[in-house]
């Protein structure tokens, strides 16, 4: 217990980084976990050559795990090349969260990554087709 909702996680929940949305975002994508109602939107501003995440911000509501892990994820990806994001996996998010999650709560932690990746993927598909 002492571990699960430890200060770092609570801090991210109460003081979310990269939070509140972006004006002039290149990409905006939102999803919710229908089973628990957690909802996250990610706004991404790409660099002009479209290879880099210039800025990123999330908004949403839900449990501590989903919101805090989204905040951690934002910190992690801001300023990174898109190719880095594509390599991000489940385990990377679990490492950021840094505490033991049960299977049911892993889903909460993954929502941010899912929204981020799906948003980027859709953008790239659209971009490619145009």
């Amino acid at each position: 217990m002492e571990d699960l909702y430890r200060d770092n996680l609570l801090d991210h929940y109460e003081n979310p980084r990269h939070h509140g949305g972006l004006e002039n975002a290149t990409i905006s994508h939102e999803e919710s976990n229908p089973l628990c109602g957690d909802r996250i939107r990610v706004d991404i501003k790409l660099s002009s050559d479209g290879t880099q995440i210039e800025d990123v911000s999330f908004s949403g509501d839900g449990c501590i795990i989903s919101q805090a892990s989204a905040s951690m994820l934002m910190e992690e990806v801001a300023g990174k090349p898109i190719t880095d994001i594509q390599k991000l996996e489940r385990q990377d998010v679990l490492d950021m969260v840094g505490v033991q999650l049960t299977a049911a709560r892993v889903k909460c932690a993954m929502l941010g990554l899912k929204v981020l990746k799906t948003g980027l993927y859709q953008y790239m598909v659209d971009h490619h087709h145009s």
Partner: protein
Amino acid sequence: MSSLDVARIRKDFPILNERVNGRPLVFLDSAASSQKPVQVLAAMEHIYRATYANVHRGVYWNSEQSTELYDDARCKIAQFIGAPSPENVIFVRNATEGLNLVAYSYGRHFLKAGDEVLLTEFEHHANFVPWHVLAKERGVKLKFIPMTQQGTLDLSKLDELLTPQVKLVTFAQVSNVLGTITDPRSIIDRAHAIGAKVIVDGCQSTPHMPINVQAMDCDFYAFSGHKMLGPTGIGILYGKRELLEAMPPFMTGGDMIGSVSFEDVTWADVPVKFEAGTPAFVEAIGLGAAVDYLSAIGMEAVRTHEKETVAYAIERMSEVPGATIIGPTDPEIRGGALTFTIKDIHPHDLGTLLDREGVAIRAGHHCAQPLHIRLGLKATARASFYIYTEQREIDALIEAIYKAKHTLRK
């Protein structure tokens, strides 16, 4: 002072001695599924260890024995719910299958475009989605009985809602979220007056109070065994005889036929017509043992115990700063489930934090998303009680909530 000898009852439930996360298990999720007494486990174990064979048509001892025990179970269950005969009792997997059976076999054959189904806003998905699908498929319209602020049904407009197009009315006798107990007769008589048939979802009532389907006069009644001390994999659909006889089978195959040739098939009599293939007969016998166990305690006493328990839980929860109780707070019209929210704590976080204290509650929408939309909530927390629930477990719940608030600085 409880109306049940809970300490004695708890001895029949070995799981209640287990520890979870280093703490004694405080199991407060019986509305999702109850624990099982050794008597039920022993009844099933005995079959598998000593007498097992498939039911029906076997002319040797083991098979006849299985058939007899299976038939006995049906009789016990019929008696338990006040059915006129075991032939009104169909074994299904769970309440969900029972409701789907009605939607497929009755709904698809007796409802047509323009007909209406009247339900409530607090139905479990099991009693909402099958009607939603029927509505889309057949041009049937769904209408909803509104709720009062308190979470009870507002029956003041019922007669207006009961237009001649309404062919089916269906509602949960006890809501699995609000806990609201609805007097079935208050709806059934008026529905019958316009010729509508009535389905009662008895999932949250059958385990917890005396039931008499004949006195209730419902046309169909569905419930699950696993919520009332029985094993998984077994549930019941009760139906009035003349309706069951008029309905075509749902699933078809072995056992439910009269005779089969290449050209023609005839059906067996009810209830067998609705039980295709090898039934979950060991589970049915387990449910029979569960019904024996409950009958020995007495369903009046069960109800009294839960009324006391929920009253105490309401009292304790009302003290908690930031706690909001969802649904009626009058124990007379509330079943043994207390749904609540804690300000600024997401129910999932609360569930996880309570789990670390060994306290098992459910968090989420409890398969009642439409209701949560109506309430303007994404999720709620629910603690639910049964015959083995002790007051000290409510105390443990409350204590764990305070601890969670402290951890999260709320």
